[in-house]
């Protein structure tokens, strides 16, 4: 009955012959519930509840009255010609100049009345009139019997009109059916009056059901808005996607039913993120959607891609109607497959873009089965409203995905520079004064420049307890100069390296503090205090001395390499290949700038640490060894003048800068120990006759050990990809000592050999009594130990 959209009256429902007469074919009757008790049923009537109320034309039934009049004026349209011949001269005249009729309500009413009169009285169909019109199957079925009743003529005429004037008239569809059977026993036939009343109820029901649908849509809209809003509260992409599945399930409800898919646009692809489906399991569909089965290229010819690309909605009554599709865009085609249902089952199609900041970020698509009622402009409006809200959610998804990609790239970069071993150990330091800052540093990798984060971090640490803002500002300058140094052949990064050395040492110091507490062994502060011999030393002094020694130790590299930089300028700009810079006479600069006193004090400090006697003082040390002092001074000057050693220069820079930062306040407790460690980490160490003993000068020892070990993150195509395999600090019961062990890989035989030579030289000068420091080069298996040297001695 609903199929034929027509009032049905049967005297006796048991009489199949009667039904056959009414229906050209028996209705496809599916009843999965309780069997229909047909034996009790006699007269039966049912009326369709139509979207248009009744088959008579009303103003609202014209999608475009002007276009309809244009079609009527089309002389080649046989039905138009037929209709026009039946209209009154007055209406006919107004149609020829339709500006007379458009906007003239009275004239329009009369025109519609005349059309309705025709609809109810003149049967339109003849083979001749409809020879060029393709009629729907339903009408072809109905035309098997020529209608005689006025209602039947009206009904078939209306359907014929809809087929001829598809674009101008609203298509009638069934909202529902109202049915009224009589009991056979004693039941009388329905009277004409009852039939009429029944039809009025059906007509009014169409209005009330449309109203109810609107209210339902409104409630669903509120509900879906809440759900979308809920999506916005979720902060991870997976959580948002889970919530989006709930949204997509309810999305069709706001347009009165259908199958829905929500797409996002990423990398020029339109990707289904959540969908409803029919036969296939929901999760399987989602999995297939995400795996790429239903992806569309945004530049492709399909409907969904068009919506995404043009940021405009598409509403089509029937996806199989190519003419309807081509009307939107001649190049447009409906692509198969679709995720929601089998492509061949798809009828009405509605898709709206999801736009954020002027860009398409997604598409909402709703489909209905073939023969189902088409979407209306109100549905498009409702879906567009939802799309606006959904744009917030999709922006979050896309942003989260981009963030996640950035994060994973950042983490990858992070680990390739710092190594997972250093990061894993760095995030658990807790005893050293900077534990909290180091934990934070590794817990929040950044996607931007790592050197910027290092700068910020060091800036914060240098100022934290001692306010050394001027000295730390040199680090920024150093980073800028290093960009020039990186142009020199063979030069490797030193800015990040300094920070890595700081972290490595901080991890070792932290572990020494931890084990010291647990095993009642000497802490780093104990070693530091007994070496420096200054009263009132705290952990902050020892830790800060390590911070500035490690993070400043290569600060003078630009000066050491200044000749080469200048030579490069002459080479690049003037084509002069030989060295033109003859070496600056540093001795005059040192004398003239007051550095001599700093050098003398540094020598004094060195001597005081090397001797086990009295402490060190600026104003003279009775216990100083003239011989050691002379040797140190000579080696220092030699390195300074001939080799322009960045270690010695770095020490002088620190001493000089800290004078302007904090005067002599922390000279003996922090600055001189750090400066000496910096001075000794370069070539000077190898030229001295004395060893660096951990117990006598823990800072210089640790700096040289960490500087030697730190290679990871400094690789390049030539030297390979060095890695930090292990940092292990533990207490060894057998020798009752703390062992510090670092294992590295150079990833290249040549680099490993070079490192072996350096390690042999450095361990030739490093010596410890109460602790063991070991370095293993995994590439060659060679191990170096400060204790082994003791044994060999």
């Amino acid at each position: 009955m609903a199929k034929y959209k027509k009032f049905l009256y049967i005297k006796n429902e048991k009489d199949e012959g009667e039904i056959q007469q009414i229906y050209p074919k028996p209705p496809n009757h599916v009843d999965s519930g309780k069997p229909h008790e047909t034996t009790k049923i006699g007269p039966f009537m049912a009326a369709p509840i139509l979207n248009i109320g009744s088959y008579q034309l009303e103003k609202g039934d014209f999608k475009d009255l002007k276009a309809f009049i244009d079609r009527l004026n089309d002389e080649t349209n046989l039905l138009s010609k037929f209709i026009k011949n039946k209209l009154s001269p007055e209406i006919l005249g107004s149609l020829n100049a339709y500006e007379d009729i458009i906007g003239n309500d009275q004239l329009v009413d009369r025109f519609i009345d005349e059309l309705n009169n025709l609809l109810g009285n003149e049967f339109f169909y003849s083979k001749e009139l409809f020879r060029d019109i393709s009629l729907s199957r339903e009408i072809e079925d109905l035309l098997l019997n020529v209608p005689t009743q006025k209602e039947d003529i009206l009904y078939i005429n209306r359907l014929l009109l809809e087929d001829v004037y598809r674009d101008e008239l609203t298509k009638c569809y069934v909202l529902g059916v109202i049915r009224l059977p009589h009991v056979a026993d004693g039941g009388t036939e329905f009277t004409e009056y009852e039939k009429r009343i029944f039809n009025y109820f059906a007509i009014r029901l169409s209005q009330s059901i449309e109203n109810a649908n609107i209210v339902k849509k409104y409630n669903n809209l509120v509900s879906i808005y809440r759900r979308i809003g809920h999506c916005c509260e979720y902060d991870t992409t997976d959580n948002i996607l889970d919530k989006l599945f709930e949204v997509v399930r309810f999305m069709p409800e706001i347009v009165g039913g259908g199958y829905c898919t929500i797409f996002t646009i990423e990398s020029e692809m339109v990707i289904p993120q959540a969908t409803t489906s029919t036969s296939k399991p929901f999760l399987e569909i989602v999995k297939r959607s995400r795996s790429g089965t239903y992806l569309y290229d945004i530049k492709g010819p399909g409907l969904t891609s068009w919506v995404a690309r043009n940021k405009k909605p598409i509403r089509i009554d029937n996806i199989s109607n190519e003419k309807e599709i081509r009307k939107i865009d001649p190049d447009l085609i409906a692509l198969r497959p679709v995720v929601e249902i089998e492509y061949d089952d798809v009828g009405p199609f509605l898709a709206v873009p999801i736009i954020r900041d002027g860009n398409s970020v997604g598409v909402i698509r709703v489909l209905r089965r073939k023969g189902a009622r088409p979407f209306k402009s109100m549905d498009e409006t409702l879906l567009t409203g939802s799309a606006e809200l959904l744009s917030l959610v999709l922006s979050n998804i896309i942003r989260n995905k981009e963030f996640s990609i950035r994060q994973s790239k950042a983490t990858e970069q992070w680990l390739s520079i710092f190594s997972s071993e250093l990061v894993n150990k760095g995030i658990i330091v807790k005893e050293i004064s900077y534990a909290h800052e180091i934990n934070d540093f590794f817990n929040t990798p950044v996607s931007g420049e790592i050197s910027e984060k290092i700068k910020d971090s060091l800036d914060n640490l240098w100022k934290k307890d001692y306010g050394m803002s001027k000295s730390i500002s040199l680090l920024s300058d150093f980073k800028n100069y290093e960009d020039m140094l990186l142009e020199l052949p063979g030069y490797r990064d030193h800015f990040i390296h300094q920070f890595q050395v700081f972290i490595l040492g901080a991890i070792i110091i932290d572990d020494i503090y931890k084990i010291g507490k647990e095993k009642n062994k000497k802490s780093f502060l104990d070693f530091y205090s007994s070496a420096i011999k200054e009263p009132g030393l705290t952990k902050q002094h020892a830790d800060f001395a390590w911070l500035i020694a490690s993070s400043f130790h290569d600060i003078a590299y630009p000066i050491e390499k200044s000749d080469k930089i200048f030579d490069k300028f002459f080479s690049n700009f003037m084509g002069i290949e030989e060295s033109v810079i003859q070496g600056i006479r540093l001795e005059y600069i040192i004398y003239d700038s007051g550095y001599q006193r700093l050098i003398d004090n540094l020598a004094d400090f060195y001597v005081s640490l090397q001797n086990t006697g009295k402490g060190w003082a600026f104003n003279g040390n009775d216990n100083r060894s003239i011989n050691v002092d002379a040797c140190f001074n000579e080696a220092l000057w030699r390195n300074l003048l001939k080799k322009r050693d960045h270690g010695v220069l770095g020490a002088l820079i620190l001493l000089h800068q800290s004078l302007s930062d904090s005067g002599t306040r922390h000279f003996s407790t922090v600055i001189y120990p750090a400066a000496l460690a910096i001075a000794l980490h370069g070539k000077l160490l190898l030229e001295l006759q004395e060893d660096i003993v951990f117990e006598q000068n823990p800072l210089a020892f640790l700096l040289r050990f960490c500087d030697l070990s730190q290679e990871w993150g400094r690789g390049n195509a030539i030297i390979g990809n060095p890695n930090l395999s292990k940092i292990d600090v533990n207490y060894n019961e057998s020798d009752n000592m703390i062992h510090v062990r670092v294992e590295i890989s150079l990833g290249n035989a040549h680099a490993a050999l070079k490192k072996e030579i350096e390690a042999r030289d450095v361990f030739g000068r490093l010596f410890s009594r109460d602790m063991v420091f070991e370095l293993k080069i995994n590439d060659t298996g060679k191990e170096y130990s400060s204790l082994r040297r003791l044994i060999s001695l």
């Binding site: 609903a2 529902g176 009224l180 009388t188 009429r196 029901l205 009330s208």
Partner: protein, 101 residues
């Protein structure tokens, strides 16, 4: 007969929401008013429960049937779904589906 015809015209107009009450017998006018009220109530109904309530209460006044069923079309599946039934209890019919075409 004349009154009956006038009444029919009246009802026809009531169906299309306009009515002229001149020359209508008083007993018919009352019935017409009631029908117009009923149809207006239907027009104003905003949810399916209310629609079913009106049908339940008023339809039997005009038509002597044994019951009534209302089906709504589900556009997703293109199936008619029973939303109201007076003849056979609603529970047993709630699973019934009438497929179109």
């Amino acid at each position: 007969m004349v009154a009956r015809k006038k009444k029919a015209e009246l009802i026809e107009r009531a169906g299309r929401q306009t009515i002229e009450l001149d020359n209508v017998p008083s007993e018919s006018i009352e019935e017409c008013h009631e029908l117009i009220d009923t149809l207006s109530k239907l027009n104003e109904a905003r949810d399916l429960d209310r629609i079913c309530e009106i049908i339940d209460k008023y339809l039997k006044k005009y038509i002597k049937g044994v019951g009534c069923s209302i089906f709504l079309m589900d556009p997703t599946t293109n199936e008619l779904k029973l939303i109201y039934s007076k003849m056979i209890d609603k529970e047993s019919w709630s699973r019934a589906k009438y497929r179109v075409g």
